[in-house]
Symmetry: C2
Subunit: 183 residues, 2 copies
């Protein structure tokens, strides 16, 4: 556990959008009353570059919904395909009555700016605070600001997972570069 957390480096907030814009499945952690929880999430989008704002749908059918509302905080952890079993496991189970970190062999690491833990095994971790709840009642859509980002610099081309529905995933493929003025 110590070795994994030591490997993480602070990541510039201005580069965070490049982690989420390609649309990976993420694991969202929240602080709990008895223990932290983890949920699987694919419905997210960038809303602003700097400070990085992210919109994410945390369904009120999930135990995490109440935890985000109560704490105003979460961590967005980005897994690679090596964690496929954990991604699906966290998506298939409720955290109301179980410790998902223990059940799925994931390692909680204290964050620096929020009470929710980082997942050590994920290559990137984004500590977030809720900043806008106007669309929560309509769509469970929370706007969060990334206040601290961490990256495992050893992971160069992360093989992220992208959900196609019903347990089918596309795994990140080859990279191409084109002449672009797009940020």
């Amino acid at each position: 556990m110590k070795g994994i957390s030591v490997a993480k480096k602070s990541y510039p907030l201005s580069k965070v959008y490049g982690l989420l814009e390609p649309g990976p499945v993420v694991l969202v952690t929240t602080a709990g009353v008895e223990r932290p929880n983890i949920m699987t999430l694919s419905w997210h989008t960038m809303l602003e570059f700097v400070p990085p704002l992210v919109g994410c749908v945390i369904s009120n059918r999930n135990y995490s919904f109440a935890r985000v509302q109560a704490t105003g905080e979460c961590v967005i952890n980005i897994p690679t395909v090596e964690l496929a079993a954990q991604v699906v496991g966290c998506g298939n189970t409720s955290g109301a009555k179980r410790d998902k970190f223990a059940q799925f062999g994931l390692t909680p690491v204290p964050a620096t700016r929020v009470a929710a833990p980082l997942i050590a095994e994920c290559f990137a971790n984004l500590e977030c605070r809720v900043t806008d709840t106007r669309l929560v009642a309509s769509y469970c859509f929370f706007v969060v600001e990334v206040v601290q980002a961490w990256i495992n610099p050893a992971v160069k081309n992360p093989r992220t997972m992208h959900h196609l529905g019903h347990g089918h995933f596309m795994v990140a493929g080859k990279r191409i570069q084109l002449r672009s003025k797009m940020k």
Copy 2:
């Protein structure tokens, strides 16, 4: 052009989320005063399964922003990597003074429910109407409802493009399936 449009079939609205959830770059078309326009977009998320609601950031630095506001409609077209040059081209140029369909060799096809055209060369096309503008002032975030979807059934494993920033893209890789209760 006729051959391409004939190949498209109506696609169940209940399956639309599976097209956008993996996070592809999309081309958004809008109806214009003189001609339709096209913009490249990566900041989108699903908000609801049925009817399919999509949230997307259409920056007010783009010509399309005013067109979506004026018409309340757009089409979300999903390209594959064969259209990489067009994706980057549409992202690098403004539609205020040019015809992007002509410039980039794309074919407009009339939609059935909205005035904005479909792009024939994209494997999927989602006709959309704006349903919620509460977050437009803050983040240029439009909520749209997909009212009609089209698919090219000949494209089985679409090699979608996923933007990593500054013209770097990840191309959709292999597919995997896991036992999942996740929708």
